[in-house]
């Protein structure tokens, strides 16, 4: 038992890597200053390797900003805010936003009220 606990503890420590709990980086001259070192390049544990995998995928993508995705532009122009690209439109609010905690029961009633949308609620 002791051995397992020791080794699993290692994983956690490896993850924390002896760095301070709070890493602070202040960028004064905008985002163009490259201050952070690549924390993943030398990573030999699987968490760092998976992270490096995602960052290298990001770098290879033709588009790297969400609002430039042509299918995002299309869903706003055709469906969420017809004719324009308006984030937080009424339809976007209805389909893409939610409520939490004690506000949920009333929210469910609201969603089930007739006229909320043309679909049925058979599965709900």
């Amino acid at each position: 038992m002791h051995i397992f606990a020791e080794k699993a503890g290692m994983t956690r420590r490896q993850f924390l890597k002896g760095s301070g709990l709070l890493a602070v980086t202040v960028i004064v001259s905008g985002i163009f200053a490259k201050i952070g070192i690549d924390a993943f390049a030398a990573g030999d544990n699987y968490i760092a390797q998976r992270a490096a995998g995602l960052y290298s995928l990001d770098e290879k993508m033709a588009l790297r900003k969400s609002h430039e995705n042509p299918e995002i532009i299309e869903i706003y122009r055709e469906f969420l805010s017809p004719g324009e690209e308006k984030y937080l439109s009424a339809k976007a609010h209805h389909l893409l936003h939610t409520k939490y905690g004690k506000n949920i029961p009333a929210f469910i009633e609201e969603l089930k009220a007739p006229g909320q949308n043309e679909n049925s609620h058979e599965a709900a």
């Binding site: 985002i31 390797q49 900003k65 299309e74 969603l111």
Partner: protein, 390 residues
Amino acid sequence: MSTAVLNNGVIHVSDQCKACDHCTSICPTGAIQGRLGEKHHIEIRKCINCGQCLINCPFGAIDDFSMVNERIRKALDNPHQFVVVQEAPAVRVALGEEFGLAPGTNVKNKMYAALRKLGFDKVYDTEFAADLTITEEGTELIHRVFNALGVPGFEHAGPLPQFTSCCPAWVKYAEDNYPQILPHISTAKSPQQMFGAVSKTYLAEKLSLDPGTIYSVSVMPCTAKKYECDRPEFIASGYKDVDAVMTTRELAQMIKTAGIDFVNLPDERADQFIGSSTGAATIFGVTGGVMEAALRTAYEVLSGEALGKVDFQAVRGLDPVREAVVEVPVKALGGKTLPVSVCIVTGTRYVAPIIEDVLADRSNYHFIEVMNCPGGCINGGGQPIRRDTY
């Protein structure tokens, strides 16, 4: 709709428990009960379904509730159901591990091919919905900032700082322990749930399908996503928005059971309309990624200028709590520079002091990202288990 998950939770300790007590040190909420030498059990009320205990149990004694046989296979076998699937960013850099590839290997295009072979009618991507999350959640943040600055017309926006909302384990933790903080959590649904709502409305229109015949499945690095999909409020489409969730491990198992030679599959692409994505969506799977994706869009919207370099190195890293300040010139304020102060938390156990500061009005942050799992969703409770690390 099944209420099993809501009532009993997703994660259970099996009879294989060797009572080593390791999981109690892993659990971020103190939900695991039991003394050394005693079979452990999970207190459902406190559990946030994150599965960190599961991937860290040295004896494989913890299981997650499976929707594969009862829901997903039945839908795939039903000729009247049009089964669509989405996959989270973190899945594509870990699925390969189950087939002998190194961690971090991108298998996105083979994953699409495998899902088609498994019988899914259309294969899309959660990353599309991650991009949609950014346009909605990023705009919500800008509105909250304008409200705080007293810009007229934004009085109805919520308070600052804004917390991210895409991690259902973090959301449940906040609901269970800090109800006063909930107005600070973005109202934007998680990418999984946005995808579900869109798949039964917009996609149904695009494909001229009766939305009632669409069955929406997701592949997630996460066990809490199973709980999230069964939450009763996710019915905005008029149906259950996401019908079932499987983990990265369960997808690997389905691929193996079907006898698919995964590593030799041809590269395929996701289907049209809700399948394309940007690099901003890809990094949702790693801690700091949602923050960086939001900053890329918020910077351009607020400044009216195109970003030259999109990498925000300052928010990257694996430390459990990180903060950064990004200077953003704001067009609406005549080009005045706004120092946007952000914080990234990876590991729910570290979030309480940050919440306490917000509630005591001591916090200067504008935006706080919280991911339950150490490192982000790449290390989620549904990911391949790395026994080699013990």
